[in-house]
Symmetry: C2
Subunit: 368 residues, 2 copies
Amino acid sequence: MSLLSKSRRLRETPFTPGVKRNGVKAYTVYNRMLLPTVFESVEADYHHLKNHVQVWDVSCERQVELWGPDASKLMKRLTPRNLDKMQDDQCYYVPVVDENGGMLNDPVAIKHSDDRWWISIADSDLLFWVKGLAIGAGLNVRVIEPDVYPLAVQGPKADDLMARVFGDEVRSIGFFRYKWMRFKDTKFIVARSGYSKQGGYEIYVENEIYAMPLWDALFDAGADLNVRAGCPNLIERVEGGLLSYGNDMTMANTPLECDLGRFCKPAENNDFIGREILEQEIANGPSREVRPITISGDAVTPPTAPWPLFKEGKQVGSVTSAAWSPDFQENIAIGMVETGSWDAGTILDIDTSNGPRQAEVKAEFWSK
Amino acid sequence: MSLLSKSRRLRETPFTPGVKRNGVKAYTVYNRMLLPTVFESVEADYHHLKNHVQVWDVSCERQVELWGPDASKLMKRLTPRNLDKMQDDQCYYVPVVDENGGMLNDPVAIKHSDDRWWISIADSDLLFWVKGLAIGAGLNVRVIEPDVYPLAVQGPKADDLMARVFGDEVRSIGFFRYKWMRFKDTKFIVARSGYSKQGGYEIYVENEIYAMPLWDALFDAGADLNVRAGCPNLIERVEGGLLSYGNDMTMANTPLECDLGRFCKPAENNDFIGREILEQEIANGPSREVRPITISGDAVTPPTAPWPLFKEGKQVGSVTSAAWSPDFQENIAIGMVETGSWDAGTILDIDTSNGPRQAEVKAEFWSK
């Protein structure tokens, strides 16, 4: 780790006082906001997340709001995912691609209604793309970043904690569905979603004056549930195969390469950007794809640049995220591997920052 | 300062080995790349910059390339600055604004020719805006981020150091002009520009295999000039009134508010985005504007969020960058102040992180 100089440009969030009070040890910078990365230790945070319940400041998941008569038209230009059957209480994971089919972001779209959407973004200024498109094409829609600060509640005890604060109705929210839930004299969108495989919710906090009261309400209600502050956990997300934009995929990758082909079944009449190129790739199949990978030997230090994968001396892919899994007792990783080498069981060579190792392509990620 | 967790998403640069070897102590994250902030100390770095010569890894100034028949047409949609007389060896500081006249970035445009431009960006994904506009409007131009890693050479001895590496011709490069200069078996754009008031150059290094050889050539040639690794310096830039995008201005500010009115004199036929709103503001004047400000008392800790400025209890502006100046022996700052309170000599109250102080609006920044 290095020292990070702070400035207004790397924004704190309305939950930062809570994060600090709960002993944050390090941050990353995500959409020019501070995102905690460690509280006790990455490993201790991992065990806690899998057994209890955590409150995560994910304010850095900024929202892009599309509001106006052309909002749905614009949404459909952004993504190969078929939005035709999406209902007004649904959240969809939507790959957003450019004219080359390259990933610009992998956000969650929240449909308010046909003329109003939020897009909860990963780490790139998707606002600029959506605004630019709308203005270039002369669409009748207002595109802004609203003042919304998502707070995630994740872990096996998330339902119990949330029910204590929002009432039992919260338990009835379906996966990737949302409800408007009352808190004090306001209400928030509460969705069953989040960047872990442990279950939980994301609360879209509008108006920052409610941020710390909500934080405190969750901690007050959850003392006997062993609630703690947490954050997206590298080990847990690699076990679950949750990709990270900027780490496991960039603008140089198509959604098919990212194993997101199931979200690339566009409606016939959908003229999304990049359609021609993606249709070719759908027909022919991608030439490389994301794979779960194990790395031999003792615990590796997680990569800060891709680690090349070799087959008989020729590079056939790379690993972009890796960590030692305490539960599976091996080095687990996310990589991208070329066609001829991507079958489960294939043994490859890898250059890690801890030296050369063996890598094996796996059939499945570690947890579902 | 806090600890920063590293990952591929926060990219190192081709100069990172040099930066580490030269004792970097802290970074910021800028365009998702590591930008050094401290070598010896902010104050020691400041004195050295004003007396000697420094080599800065500013790879984070990513380039947006516009290449194709409609490149100039697209450039003119981006900015209120009149580009009609710009020559093929010029660099222009160009405010880029959205449909509300809000600043999206304050980059330097480098004109290769009418059909090819680079835009050397501040901290926002301007690529997304430019691509979105081009595609939305159906323009015939390719917009990409090329593999270019700017290296700055700044300080009063910059001319001497650069002449030793690139030959005396480098001395003839005019302010905000550039020449293609030979280095080994390649050549780079070398511009007389940079984010300090001490004079110097920016070298646009294409192809990262030349990065460390150039770094080493500069250090080998400059030992007796006391060359050191450096970085944009908070104290020096506030003395010089160099604004920082994300710190001193955001999308909520117009270029006129940022005192960039001199770059808002568009050609008659230029239909840049936001024209209508900016013309109104040019006619009426902005309601608030950037000002140099001094803060009373002993050294303040630089702000990480705006410090509000008050006049008789009513907020009339805020300070966004501040530092103690060793050369001027006072707290110097950049703020934005409303019309009625922005005259030089106006005394205001300010809430700093070191408690309440007095602030005074100054007529001019400290150095030119």
